[in-house]
């Protein structure tokens, strides 16, 4: 931490007496710029979205249509986008969180001390792979391998709504199922790094007390590490969720467009907020259709804002997603 001890600026000899004031103001201005950026972001997205929202002939929140080609008859709503976004992100989260917690427990309690750091770097490297590469791998390599798994789940657990028939064919694997698995891989390093950090801070005394009572290693973890790290697990999961909600190109490459609206099955296709916006980038020449996508982008901005604020609140301060 910076010291509270401040030199008395006026008493020095030599140097520019204005130096401190100028430098301090510059630093303050840099901090203010960051606040201004977030404010401008909300402001300009709203400014650009409002005319399109006024011209919208469908209900923005409840409609599943997204017809923006006819400027005089704009009909767009986010219901379908919201459904696919939430479905794929939550599915990814359910896959990633138990594994991330397992990895964090392994790295802090099981891995040999000398190997713990290289192992942690190995997991962090997953975050270094560009998302478009994950997308390519997901659709060309992983999807064919997942297809039999998807068929098995669909055949045997089809009575459960998540595994019911989706609105696209299982062939090729362009479903939320594949996208969710890829998203899970992509958010794994974030959740792991936050969780691992909290786990490693478990007070030594708690651990030793549990050991002195004769607890096995698993009992030590269950009684000391997990309760102590609960806030970290929640914060890490929220950060991972935020990342999954906004992931664009991997989802865009993997998910197949669907003619019918989805029915909350992981074998649905369709668009998330982010992939819908990216897919329409070529349409961005005229004002009103563009505004429709900017409105969708604003909703995504609000969603991620809330999720990240929750992550911060859960961690009781700041969190770093690594």
């Amino acid at each position: 931490m910076a010291t509270e001890l401040e030199p008395k600026t006026g008493l020095r000899t030599g140097g520019n007496p204005w130096g401190d004031r100028i430098f301090g103001s510059l630093a303050l201005a840099a901090g203010a710029t960051i606040i201004a950026v977030i404010a401008l972001m909300a402001l300009f997205l709203i400014i650009r979205a409002v005319p399109s929202l006024q011209a919208n002939k469908a209900n923005f929140l409840t409609s599943s249509e997204f017809a923006t080609t006819d400027e005089t008859n704009l009909r767009f709503g986010i219901a379908e986008l919201f459904q696919i976004t939430v479905l794929s992100s939550v599915f990814a989260l359910l896959l990633a969180v138990p594994i991330a917690i397992g990895i964090a427990a392994f790295l802090t309690n099981y891995a040999p001390r000398r190997l713990a750091k290289p192992f942690a770097i190995l997991v962090d490297l997953l975050a270094a792979v560009p998302s478009i590469v994950f997308g390519l791998w997901g659709i060309f390599v992983l999807a064919p391998k997942l297809e039999p798994v998807a068929r098995f789940l669909n055949d045997n657990l089809g009575w459960f709504f998540l595994f019911a028939d989706g609105n696209v064919s299982l062939a090729g694997g362009g479903t939320v199922f594949t996208a969710g698995v890829v998203l899970a891989v992509m958010i794994l390093p974030i959740i792991t790094s936050v969780t691992r950090e909290v786990f490693s801070l478990t007070p030594r005394g708690h651990v030793e007390a549990a050991q002195a009572l004769g607890a096995t290693k698993w009992e030590v973890i269950r009684m000391t590490v997990f309760p102590y790290g609960r806030s970290g697990m929640i914060a890490g999961s929220m950060l991972g969720l935020g990342r999954a909600l906004g992931e664009t190109v991997a989802v865009l490459i993997i998910l197949r467009a669907a003619a019918q609206p989805g029915n909350w099955s992981v074998f649905d296709g369709g668009y998330t907020f982010a992939s819908k916006i990216a897919s329409a980038a070529a349409e961005f020449s005229s004002k009103l259709p563009t505004g429709a996508y900017i409105a969708a982008g604003f909703v995504l901005f609000i969603l991620t804002f809330i999720v990240n604020a929750l992550a911060r609140a859960a961690a009781g301060g700041r969190v770093s997603g690594g």
Binding site: D20, G102, A128, P130, E219, G246, V249, A274, A278
Partner: protein, 301 residues
């Protein structure tokens, strides 16, 4: 008393051996934790292997690193991607030039000056900015720079979006590094009558510099692979364009995305070749970051 009575406890032992149920649970937990780590290494190795295997042939072809795709037919494997490599690097560099000074100053504010409410709001906003999806950052630049201010689509607009993505990474990392500088150094400097701003610029920042630089390199690696901004803010070009402020410009992610529509085998080869090239660029930055961290720190010690 004889030793035989001492060796014969009067009371049954209080400690029981660990029951089977607890043993099984303990082993299961160890198995699950180790297993989750092993599972996590699978996609990493699988992805890297796939890209290497499928892109290798493209990357070692003669013209890959020195030619563009100008005049190359979709079904013909010829030319190279140097126009896209140039685009990727120049966009990331412009973003770095804009975001690094701003990010370092903001971190200095938070660590050395920031007290009270305003500093808290700033930290909060850094966290929020870190969570902003790249597509939203791109849309914002589109709404501000292109739709409102009337500038054309260009590589510079992409760089502006990348600034938003780099900024929080640079701020957080620099903050961490500045906090690691011992207070004794600051106090010694103040005791010699050095003003605060000079202490920061001449003592604190230079001490933290290796960490700051390696953080910047990692941030660069992060934004190089960003695809959402290039999809929205710049058009694709098959030939080289040196001017970031004007016209279409290719970059590796944009080239991959464009060639995906090409059904020919040559297009697929280019896709994987560009993916491998992108990964090599990212890897080079990671190696450079590790080198800076280790080498500069050792020299200082």
């Amino acid at each position: 008393m004889t030793t035989t009575t001492l060796g014969d406890p009067t009371k049954a032992p209080t400690f029981h051996p660990i029951g089977t149920g607890r043993k099984v649970k303990n082993s299961l937990a160890a198995f699950f934790f180790t297993g989750s780590f092993l599972i996590a290494t699978v996609p990493l190795i699988w992805v890297l292997y796939t890209v290497l295997e499928r892109g290798f042939k493209a990357v070692i072809s003669a013209d890959w690193w020195g030619k563009s795709l100008a005049g190359v037919l979709p079904d013909q494997f010829a030319g190279g991607v140097y126009h896209a490599i140039y685009g990727t690097i120049i966009q990331a560099l412009i973003a770095a030039v804009l975001s690094v000074p701003l990010g370092i100053m903001a971190a200095i504010y938070l660590v050395e000056y920031g007290r009270g409410r305003f500093a808290k709001v700033t930290t909060f906003m850094v966290d929020i900015l870190a969570g902003v999806p790249s597509i939203v950052a791109a849309l914002f630049i589109f709404a501000l720079w292109i739709a409102t201010l009337g500038f054309p689509q260009s590589a510079f607009a992409v760089a502006l979006a990348l600034v938003l993505l780099m900024l929080p990474v640079v701020v957080r990392n620099t903050e961490e590094m500045l906090k690691l500088v011992p207070d004794e150094l600051r106090e010694a400097s103040y005791a010699l009558g050095v003003p605060k701003w000079k202490t920061i610029l001449r003592i604190v920042v230079p001490t933290a510099l290796p960490g700051i630089i390696s953080g910047v390199l990692l941030a660069l690696a992060r934004v190089m692979g960003e695809t959402a901004p290039v999809l929205i803010l710049v058009g694709y070009a098959r030939s080289i364009n040196y001017d970031p402020s004007n016209g279409n410009m290719a970059s590796l992610p944009l080239l991959i995305y464009t060639e995906l529509i090409n059904p020919e085998a040559a297009g697929r080869l280019r896709v994987w070749g560009a993916a491998l090239t992108l990964i090599l660029l990212v890897a080079a930055l990671y190696v450079a970051a590790a080198f800076v961290n280790r080498y500069l720190n050792r020299n200082r010690a």
